[in-house]
Amino acid sequence: MAGQTPKSLVAIANLKRLCDDHLKGRRYRIEVIDLMVTPQLAKDDQILAIPTLVRKLPKPVRRIIGDLSNIERVLVGLDLIPASRTSA
């Protein structure tokens, strides 16, 4: 995220809900990086869109952009459900 914008706050809220709903009992770690605070990480992690969710583990690294309101897409992106429908 980049500053406390409405989109970012929505994304964080959506993410928390998603984890509560679908990652119950699993170990996970959420790290929220504010690029306004640490701008150099935009380069290191190649972040273009805000908000972006990067799943670092398990590999491969997956990226999901947007405020995560499309839960299905998020789950597909995180490999939590198979991509049964047409690709993005």
Partner: protein, 584 residues
Amino acid sequence: MKHNESRNVTRKPRRSPSLPKAPTGIQGLDELTGGGLPKGRPTLLCGDAGCGKTLLAMEFLVRGAVESGEPGVFMAFEENAMELAKNFASLGHDLKALVAQKKLVLEFIHIERGELEETGEYDLEGLFIRLGHAIDSIGAKRVVLDTVEALFSGLSNTAILRAELQRLFRWLKTKGVTAIITGERGETSLTRYGLEEYVADCVIVLDHRVDGQMATRRLRIVKYRGSTHGTSEYPFMIDEGGISILPVTSMVLKHKASTERVSSGLGRLDAMMGDKGYYRGSSVLVSGAAGTGKTSLAAYFAQGTVARGERCLWFAFEESSSQIIRNMRSIGIDLEPAARRGTLLFHAERPTIFGLEMHLLTIHKLVSQFRPRVVVIDPITNFTSIGSLAEIQEMLTRLIDFFKIQQITALFTSLTTSGEFMESKDIGVSSLMDTWLLMREIKSGAERNRVLHILKSRGMAHSNQVREFLLTDHGAELRDVYVGPSGVLLTGSARDALEAREKAQSLFRAQEVEGKSRELVRKRQAMEAQIAVLRAEHEVEQVEAAKMIGQDQKRAGVLARDRVQMARLRQSDANAAGKTPKHK
């Protein structure tokens, strides 16, 4: 703000002040744009793959950092852009050093294709942050985004993309950086994704075309808001020095005409041109059939130039420099020392390697680097194999304009096919030239002799006579020709025969004259002898006369004495005798 603007508008002079510009440092481009790209604004640079966009953008950045003190940021959105940028080092710029000196930032923005899940609303703030960070880290004044369109292949929400791009270009303006945005040519629009809608200040299009077998690159300024610019297509080339664009030669004939004269290197030829030679900055055409001595005239000019201490640049399109040097040595001109010293530079290549524009560019480049006062182009006729007559004329017009502005005197040789006195192509080209020397061959008897004739020479009184042009091993000679009894030009042995005859005649006449004068002398001597005799006689008579006068006087004296004595003897009164004078 609005009030101020309207007040300023009424105060400003009629001609709107020119936009502040960021000089590119690229040869020719600053002239074309009237100073460079619009400062603090984005410029769109579009063209197909391989047309040189990345190179031009890189050169803009590097030169900005090195020459204008403006650090720059290069953001590559594609891998090949990154590679190209790194390869820029091969053009003689040390990119690593520039990065280390914080004058340059080279970054690669990785765009995942098809791997991205888009799950709702987003914006491209990350890009802004990245860019902003890079710009701020070195205080960049120039930015290149190459090529921003890559975003379209990674992200499918074009609405968001377009909105963000618009925002990006506005943001770049607020950052006060001069930006180059590259884009690919589109089928129906200028760029594939219509970036030209957002980047409206300046648009430049690059083109890479293959015409026949010649590949030429062209640049065109489609739009430059608030500035005058050249609107035509301008050929450019890419070489180890970077990009060179054919500079705009002012087609407005505003160059000053010099009154200075330079020797042609051949005294007799100078004599035919008012005893001074060519005008400095003028164009000279030497045309003639094969073997008529055109190159030797050029060599004389070159020799004269280096002897004056000036530099000469010789473009040889037919023979190699060593050939020319060897051939000229056989007529007594040694160009080797000047070539070795570096005051005479040869550039030899066959015209067929490149297109006309490339040659023009090469000539421009070399002239700018070497700064000669004289240029020889020998010959120009080979260009007919790579261009039409109209194209050659256009090229020559630009060249001659360029030389005149630089006050470079240029000599062009042109091969005419033997037999024809004047050809149409000669006429077409000759109208561009100030001086036209025609070399011809005259057949007389079983001989072919060369003659030279000044067909025209603007602005000077010149001989309209034909001279025989002889190439001997100790140099070239220009000799008067003889018009024989039937009005036929006599050259070669016929001329020699006539010369001999005339010599004999004049000798005979000389002898006659001598005889006459000798006679005169004799006569005078005789006369003087007579005078001497007369004088002698006269002298004798003078002497006799003097003698007689003397005797007379003596007699008179004796008589007077006698009288006195007789008076004494008569014992007359001496006093009375003495006083008698009273009565007398």
